[in-house]
Point group: C2
Amino acid sequence: MFKKILIAEDFQDTNKGIVEALESRLQIETIQEELYCDKAYNRFKVAHEKGEPYELLITDLTFSENHVPRKLTSGKKLIDAVRAVDKNIKVIVNSMIDNPTEINPLFSEQEINGYVCKGRNSLNDLVNAIQEVYQNRTFVSPQLNLNTAGSVFEMDKYDLMILKNLADGFTKKEISEKLKKQNISPNSESTIDKKVSKLFDEFGAKNTHHLIAKLVKLGKI
Amino acid sequence: MFKKILIAEDFQDTNKGIVEALESRLQIETIQEELYCDKAYNRFKVAHEKGEPYELLITDLTFSENHVPRKLTSGKKLIDAVRAVDKNIKVIVNSMIDNPTEINPLFSEQEINGYVCKGRNSLNDLVNAIQEVYQNRTFVSPQLNLNTAGSVFEMDKYDLMILKNLADGFTKKEISEKLKKQNISPNSESTIDKKVSKLFDEFGAKNTHHLIAKLVKLGKI
DNA sequence: TAGTCCCTTACAGGTATCTGTAAGGGATTC
DNA sequence: GAATCCCTTACAGATACCTGTAAGGGACTA
C-alpha cells in the first residue's frame, strides 16, 4: 500500500472526514492534509527534494478564494505543477463535479488515475480508488457513466458554440459573420435560427432566454 | 451542552468529518448522522415520540438525487418538517452557499439559529455555532457579511423577479400581465424594458441573453 | 438516371426586444 | 405655489428573434 499520501481539500470538514476514514481503513504511514493548493505543492516539493516523495495526491478541483493570495487556484493547476516535478505521482481527484464533459479531460489530458464523485458513498469509493490506483488501475465512481459523454444527452460542439456565443451576448448575425470569417460551415443566420429552435424542443425551452438559463444551470455553457 | 444532536449531510466524507470533530471537541452524549433527509426526519420523529427528542439539527441545504425515492428533497423541507413536529428544536445550517439573498430568508422565514458556510474554517465555525446556539444566540460564519444583502452589489427583489421570469422563458409582455393581475406596481412593459436595460450597464451585459447567462453563473437566478 | 432524404440557405412575415422621446404624477425643496 | 427630481407609463422606430416556405445541393438508393 502507499506509504505517503497528500490530500488537498479546502473544506475543513471534508478534509477531516477523509483523513479519519483513511487512517481507520487503510494502513498508510503518512497522511498529510492541506487546505490550500500552494501549501500542498510546497509540502510535496520539499518531500520530493528530501528524497521522501509522496506517492499519491488526492485533490479537490475547486478551491474557494479568501484573503490569502494564491498562485495555484485550482486542483487542475496543482496537478500540473506536481506532475511537472514528479511525472509518476498518482493522482485521484475527489470533487462534487459529476459532468462527464468536465471529467473526461482529466483522464485524457491530465492523466489522472482516479475520480471520486463526492456523495453518499464517496468515502467508500475513495478507499476503493486508492486500492485500485495502487494496483496501477484507474478508478471512477460507479454512479458516473463516463461512456455517456458522447451520447444523445450531449450536445454537439457546433450547437454548444452557438449557445455560448449567444450567452456571451453576440447576436445570431454576428455569430454568422464570425463563422464565415473562420470558414466554418454551416454559417447562415437561417441555419443558426433552426439549430437553436431545435434545441428548444430538446430541452423543453420556450425561447432563447429560457434555453440559456437552463444550459448554464446544467453547467453546459 | 446539547445532549442529542442530529446531522443531515449527504456527502459521506463531510458527514464523517463533522461527527469526528464534534465528538473530539464537545461533550455530547448522542451524535446521530444521516445521509438522507427522510431518514433524518424519521429518526427525529421516533426520538420525539419516545420522549427523547433531539435538541439540535445540523443540516445541509442541498441533497443530491440518486435512485432512492425521496419525500424531503432539501434541507429547507427537512427544517419545515422537523419544526412542524417540534417548533423549539434548534437548527444550524451547514452549507457551501454564501449568497446572502439565499441565506437571509433562512433566518427571517425559517428562523434557523445558525448558519455555517463550508470552507477552510467551517469545523471551527460549527463548534462555535453550536456553543452560541446553546446559549440561545444566533451564529453566522464571520466571512459572510449578511448586512451587505441590501447593498449596492445586491439586486433588489423586483429586478430579480423580472430576470427570473425572463430566464424561465416568459416575455416582458407576459411578465407585465402577471404583475397587473397581482396588483404589483410598477407593471408596464415599458418600465420592465428600462429596468432590464439598466441592469445591462450594471453588469456589463450586451443584451438579455448575456445578462441571464451572467446572473445564472453568479448564482443569483 | 431518377427519386428520396437531409442539410443548408434565402426570404418573408410576425413577434419580441431595445432605445429614445415625451407626458404625467408624486415627493421634496425653496 | 413653483421648481425640481425621480419614477412610471405610452408610444414609436429600429433591431433582433422566431417560424414557415421554398429552392438548391450533396449523399444515398433503386
